[in-house]
Subunit: 250 residues, 2 copies
């Protein structure tokens, strides 16, 4: 039996490109509504739906979020900004309705984070199917408490990542980005524990070509900047700020 | 300007159904390869690609994973099982290549977890586009250490969730599952802090209808079983097991 291995969806996923520059064209409420409600059918652990989606159009709010994200101008300039939130607050209410206390732990923190990521990925896919573009904004985790205050969150909610959407300025959209060789990402039956150094070196060359860099390959391509970033702690405030927002890590 | 608001992708996302029963029909390596490589173009934070994908077909391995997942028979009976792993091990190697130490923290734990979720969601979408079906398996977090040993993981890898895929036995596939009213999930500009109790009560009725339950609505629909589950801690071993696998929560 031969099976079809190509679909419009697979083709679209294969051509994903990150969009940071948007035309000055509106995105209708109707489009937003359709995208979000389609994505809300995504899998969610035990149907608990432990996420919320913020839709932000207000220029002042976007401006403040852009600063909190580390001065990411596209958060301000995009017509619509989404924030995908881990949200345990409704489960608190559901428990109260039955006279029970919601016992949280690391599991609920991870499940709600994953729920938010799943729906966010589906939103990205839906957005691109309309010929629009998007960029996910992990910088929402720079200052989780300030973001929560700005958006009026109750206890039990934090933004896992944001997303700028809009109509792309296609001439500013980068080409499809090469990924690491599949041999170090996809493992059959058992994890391939042979050293990934050769594949990383090859990828450094690939990314140097992609970015048009020709000199200082070792320092300037993938692994060099990574090593330089990862030698220092990142977002050291994250644990205490997420705890203050009601998330548990035990 | 009127904009198209319906696409084949949006239609597909809207109709997602979880599939736990599969026909005894093979899934070719070609299909697996196409699905996974399309999904690998999904967004990944800072292009770090902090995830790996396990492809498991071996009946003995699937049988053991089914038990570890809490006796989920479909993990054993599906033709192909994927495990989406948070994977920080390649970044360790990339840092070593430049004489640096990879400093991990809660941020790297969350980023790698989200990376795995994003690619997993795209795999689900690609799978469904081919007329196949899937179910995500959070039960992989029951015994993270045993799963890691079974699949031969190096330090820095854990399974965020698994996924059974295959050709659906459509007569055993449930209808599209209703979700909570959008007014409690989608928030415009500011989080809607009014009580979600009315929407939860309405959803209890919706889910009772969906499951064909007519009696003991308060106890048997959505919020009742939830409250009963959430009054007890879940996966209390998760923190210590993930730490033993090299993940940090500081």
């Amino acid at each position: 039996m031969t099976t079809q291995t190509q679909t419009a969806v697979i083709d679209q996923l294969s051509k994903h490109r990150t969009v940071r520059f948007f035309k000055d064209e509106p995105v209708s409420d109707d489009v937003v509504h359709t995208i979000l409600n389609a994505a809300r059918q995504s899998p969610t652990s035990s149907n608990r739906q432990t996420y919320s989606i913020m839709v932000v159009r207000n220029p002042e709010t976007k401006k403040k979020l852009a600063v909190l994200a580390g001065n990411q101008k596209h958060v301000e300039t995009c017509p619509v900004f989404f924030a995908f939130c881990a949200d345990l607050s409704r489960l608190d209410v559901a428990c109260e309705m039955h006279g029970e206390k919601h016992v949280k732990g690391l599991e609920s923190t991870l499940v709600s984070t994953v729920d938010a990521a799943l729906v966010g990925m589906s939103v990205n896919t839906a957005v691109e199917s309309l010929g629009m573009g998007a960029v996910m904004i992990g910088g929402m985790r720079n200052h989780p408490k300030q973001v929560a205050e700005l958006l009026g969150f109750p206890n039990g909610v934090y933004v896992v990542f944001g997303m700028c959407i809009g109509w792309p300025e296609w001439d500013k959209v980068p080409n499809v980005k090469p990924r690491l060789d599949e041999s170090v990402i996809i493992h059959h039956e058992q994890y391939n524990t042979s050293s990934p150094v050769p594949q990383i070196e090859a990828y450094n060359q690939t990314m140097a070509d992609y970015y048009g860099k020709e000199r200082n390959l070792h320092e300037s391509a993938w692994s060099g900047p990574l090593a330089n970033q990862l030698k220092s702690p990142r977002r050291e405030n994250l644990r205490s700020e997420l705890e203050s927002l009601g998330f548990v890590f035990k």
